[in-house]
């Protein structure tokens, strides 16, 4: 779930950078979709991690754990990202500041990833096991299968969230067009 979250936020950051360069709705919509799905999975990472931590570490939460805290910060940053998007009436006006926030927020991901090495005495998490392949074959297979399924589910969610954003954009544009036409009609009519 954490890998899927990182992937969604990286997609969000790439799409945000794409928006800042191209300034098209497609990039902004993709960033929004990936950001929302990433925030949802990030919340699940924190909650299910807590559920897992209780029997394994005998604690639900540890405020001094750098990986937990940096993940919480990531979640809050992207929650802020979504709140910022929701604060504007026009999606076009929200796109630029949101893209900048996404590009700043994503910088937390390498920090989360390296935190267990940089502050090894301030975390309950073990050091990286995947990159050094310190996993049994069957466990590795299960993990890889889990990652594959999670990535497919995340892609499906992002695709459908993108579709919703696309339709919302069209509806908004249609509304604006209708309002302009009504104004013009009323102007001509006296």
């Amino acid at each position: 779930m954490a890998i899927v979250t990182y992937l969604a936020f990286v997609i969000c950051a790439i799409a945000s950078a794409g928006y800042l360069v191209k300034r098209t709705f497609w990039w902004d919509s993709m960033a929004h979709a990936a950001g929302e799905v990433g925030t949802l999975t990030c919340a699940l990472v924190l909650i299910t991690g807590s559920i897992w931590g209780r029997p394994v570490w005998n604690t639900w939460w540890e405020w001094g754990d750098v990986r937990l805290m940096s993940t919480l910060i990531l979640f809050l940053l992207f929650l802020g990202y979504l709140a910022l998007r929701g604060a504007f009436v026009s999606p076009q006006r929200a796109a630029r500041p949101a893209a900048i926030v996404a590009l700043i927020a994503v910088l937390d991901i390498p920090l989360i990833n390296r935190s267990v090495d940089w502050w090894e005495n301030r975390t309950l998490h073990q050091k990286s096991t995947l990159s050094e392949l310190k996993i049994e074959d069957l466990t590795l297979f299960t993990l890889m299968l889990g990652i594959l399924v999670s990535v497919l589910v995340m892609s499906w969610l992002i695709l459908h969230r993108f579709r919703v954003a696309w339709l919302e954009h069209i509806e908004f544009e249609q509304g604006v067009k209708t309002a302009i036409e009504e104004r013009r009609y009323m102007g001509h009519g006296g």
């Binding site: 709705f25 699940l44 299910t48 559920i51 029997p55 969610l157 696309w166």
Partner: protein
């Protein structure tokens, strides 16, 4: 609670949240599809001029 209980709680919660989100997306997509003109309802075939 046993370890199995924690395991089921984690999987159950994740599955439920993802399922509810997916259903919400599908419902919202269907609602919007009904509101926009039919040529836009199938988003993959939307005209290019609405691309930016």
């Amino acid at each position: 609670m046993t370890h199995l209980g924690y395991l089921l709680a984690g999987w159950g919660l994740s599955s439920l949240v993802i399922l509810l989100y997916a259903v919400r997306l599908l419902k919202r997509g269907a609602q919007l599809s009904a509101r926009v003109p039919s040529e836009y309802a199938r988003w993959m075939s939307s005209p290019k001029q609405n691309n930016g």
